[in-house]
Amino acid sequence: MGNHSINTTDQKPENADKPSALLSERIHAGDRSAEAELVQQFWRPTLFMLQYRCQNPAQAEDLAQDAMTIVISHLRKSPLENPDALPKYIRQIAMNLFIGEYRKQQRQQTSVDQTSIEQAVAEQASGYDNVYRQQRATAVQRLLAELPQQRDRQILRLFYLAEQDKTDICKRLSLSSAHFDRVLYRAKQRLRKLYDQEQKKSG
């Protein structure tokens, strides 16, 4: 278990009054609701980070669940030296798992009541992401369907898919830098609006 430990001495305790900073100690003290809070707070960003790196939603979900399980089982054993370092700690665990998967090494095993933790994590995590994902997907579909000009779509595709530099895109499409920024800004603003609408629809 010790191989997940991270050096937290470089972290400032200035945010120790944050609720998230207290989670470590509460979990160590046996507060099961703190475990649920941890999952609720960190599930989405952890899953996103792993999805971004894995490009494989199912695998990312497995790794995110493993990460949450390991974090909770570790915190049950001992709290973090610096509770404010919890996000860094979670990230490190998730990255270790990702790298371990990538290198085809055996995953870390936890021994402390792992099944019950996994079950709790799964219960807390279930449903969080699916709803948001669906809402986002619908918003994106609506945005792409209503893009006013083919050129706007082309700009987005060159920037996000072809990963071309802004300068190159502007040169290629004879655009000013301001025009490019406007297209990106408008698309994101509109996407935000459509997403908010989807959320309102879902109540």
Binding site: S20, F42, R44, P45, T46, F48, M49, Y52, R53, C54, Q55, N56, P57, A58, Q59, P87, K88, I90, R91, E101, Y102, K104, Y132, R136, A137, A139, V140, Q141, L143, L144, R153, L156, R157, F159, Y160, L161, E163, L184, Y185, A187, K188, L191, R192, Y195
Partner: protein, 228 residues
């Protein structure tokens, strides 16, 4: 940090432009900042939406399209997009099995895609991730007509598009490497179409790698059983 700075940072992260330390800092930031995460998720969803729109045949719609092909229910719009993808793959793999001067024309490839032509998905070439080997065997009844679909499970650093170099040897031939751009599907597989009629009986070694040399060459062995 201004709103513009934050958006630029989000875009830089999504586009993989941040150095490892900056990426780690950014990840720690969004782990504890729900608003930043929400912005990031939207930007990422936009990228994924664009990717899916461009890559419709290989994300979600692909299997349905194959099923529709078999049943003769191919829709014109989907057919155009999907056919284009298959034609590209077909032409790419054709080079492996024929000389460059003997490529399929678009029309020939399209002819091969008539709804009554079966498209065969044969054994996946699974990676060592699951401790299985890289070999696959095509059975004789899969070589009668149409296309076979090779699915390569990859363990490469994630990218929306890979520039892949494929080479093959077998049956006394050394086939020149070709380079194709391939997008992984939503399972992380690279999918290439093989005109089944070009697959003569025998053993082949297929070498696949990215052109940027980020990954070592992976060798797959393929045995085509003699047709009876």
């Amino acid at each position: 940090m201004t709103q513009t700075d934050q958006q630029q940072r989000i875009d830089a992260y999504i586009r993989g432009e941040l150095d490892p330390e900056s990426a780690a800092n950014f990840e720690e930031a969004y782990l504890q900042d729900a608003e930043l995460l929400a912005e990031l998720e939207l930007a990422y969803a936009l990228k994924q939406g664009l990717l899916e729109e461009e890559y419709q045949p290989e994300i979600g719609v692909r299997l349905a399209w194959w099923q529709k092909l078999g049943k003769g229910l191919l829709r014109p719009a989907g057919a155009f997009v999907a056919t284009s993808a298959i034609v590209v793959s077909t032409l790419a793999f054709t080079v492996l099995y024929q000389s460059r001067s003997d490529l399929l024309t678009d029309q020939q490839a399209l002819t091969a895609l008539q709804p009554d032509v079966s498209i065969v998905t044969f054994s996946r070439l699974r990676s060592a991730r699951e401790n299985t080997d890289y070999s696959a065997i095509i059975s004789p009844d899969q070589l009668t007509s149409g296309l076979a679909i090779l699915e390569f499970e990859i363990d490469w650093p994630p990218k929306p598009v890979y520039e892949v170099e494929i080479a093959a040897q077998g049956q006394g031939q050394q086939l020149e490497p070709i380079v194709v751009s391939v997008k992984p599907d939503d399972r992380g597989y690279l999918v290439l179409a093989v005109p089944a009629t070009f697959m003569k009986a025998g053993d082949y070694q297929i070498l696949i790698s990215t052109t940027d040399n980020e990954v070592p060459k992976q060798e797959f062995s393929l045995r085509v059983n003699p047709t009876s």
